[in-house]
Symmetry: C2
Subunit: 209 residues, 2 copies
């Protein structure tokens, strides 16, 4: 295998194992074993599990930056919001190991805490931009205090969803579609008609309800 | 010290240490040291840290059961909701070690996961009862899908709040008052006037805004 390819395969394998079992329960040896390569070969690419976590976090960061970039040339509309949430929960699902026990990030090394906070700050900024766009176009009516609270609740919900689902008995019925619906339901009551009904129907159709 | 008193003091000391440092970083020896009693004396009351965690979880459960009991004889009104949330976040704060990293509960022993789920189910039931009361009395207008989503968001927010705050940079400005406001802000847009403004003013006054 080419070096580059091996490195990518290590990351793919580690990501799958971290997502399945949690970082704490996966060793570099297990990753090497799963790939049927020697621990020495893995060590050639990554000196430690922390190195692998840091590399995966960087991939996650890049995908989040791309996802959270708001369309700048025009006001965001309802389909933008829907597509945005859908993409966001796809990234969160792909890197679920970060979110399953995200408060571990508080104790993480290598500035991961600070970088996770930057992602949250960006999430917050994007939510505020969407909300401001809806208010500006007259679709949403909400006071400043309500808009602040709404943006914070959106960030909290998108960040906490996976660890919340982990402890719920009905976890199976709480996939990404349900997550999108829960966020949309925060926004709906602030919308005027007919946009409110339109967004509700769009979302429920997506849920297959 | 009387036996009973020692046992209570062990629980108080353990609770303070767990809340401060997290269960993983507190040993029974540290608890005994903090109390200036011998490890043997502590062992007489609790055989292991798990025993102490289980005893504290039982205290938490009882306080939650008392807090989540809805007034049965009449429809709940806005002040009930406000008082209820205030009490709820008091209990959550008192047992913050359970919530700081609540997804650890998924891997906990002694049926704690199942018992935590029962608390969540009760929270959910209480939220639904309040919502139904507000709809029945005409104060709230919301479709069935919106009511379900609202109840779920309330349970998620109250459960995830502390672990969310842990990773936020502005954690200091996110105390229990802010938590109550975030939950109230979920409910507000579904209320008719003048109740909507009344509840907003009641909450903002409490926040000291």
């Amino acid at each position: 295998m080419a070096r580059r390819k091996t490195k990518d395969l290590i990351l793919d394998t580690a990501l799958a194992l971290f997502n399945e079992a949690g970082v704490a329960h996966v060793s570099t040896n297990l990753i090497a074993e799963e790939m049927e390569i020697s621990p020495g070969n893995l060590y050639y690419h990554f000196r430690s599990k922390d190195d692998i976590v840091a590399a995966l976090f960087e991939c996650y960061e890049q995908e989040m930056l791309a996802t959270l970039a708001v369309p700048g040339e025009r006001l965001p509309d309802l389909e933008d919001i829907w597509f945005f949430l859908h993409s966001l929960f796809e990234v969160i699902g792909r890197y679920r190991f970060i979110y399953r026990n995200f408060s571990d990030i508080s104790h993480a090394k290598r500035g991961l805490r600070r970088r996770f906070q930057s992602v949250l700050a960006l999430k917050s900024h994007t939510a505020a931009t969407f909300i401001a766009g809806l208010v500006e176009s007259g679709i949403m009516q909400a006071s400043t205090a309500e808009r602040d609270a709404l943006a914070k609740n959106i960030v909290l919900l998108t960040t906490s969803w996976l660890s919340f689902v982990e402890v719920m008995p009905e976890a199976d019925s709480m996939g990404p579609e349900q997550a999108v619906w829960q966020v949309i339901s925060l926004v709906l009551p602030f919308l005027r008609q007919p946009e409110r009904s339109q967004l509700e129907h769009l979302t429920l159709a997506y849920l297959g309800v």
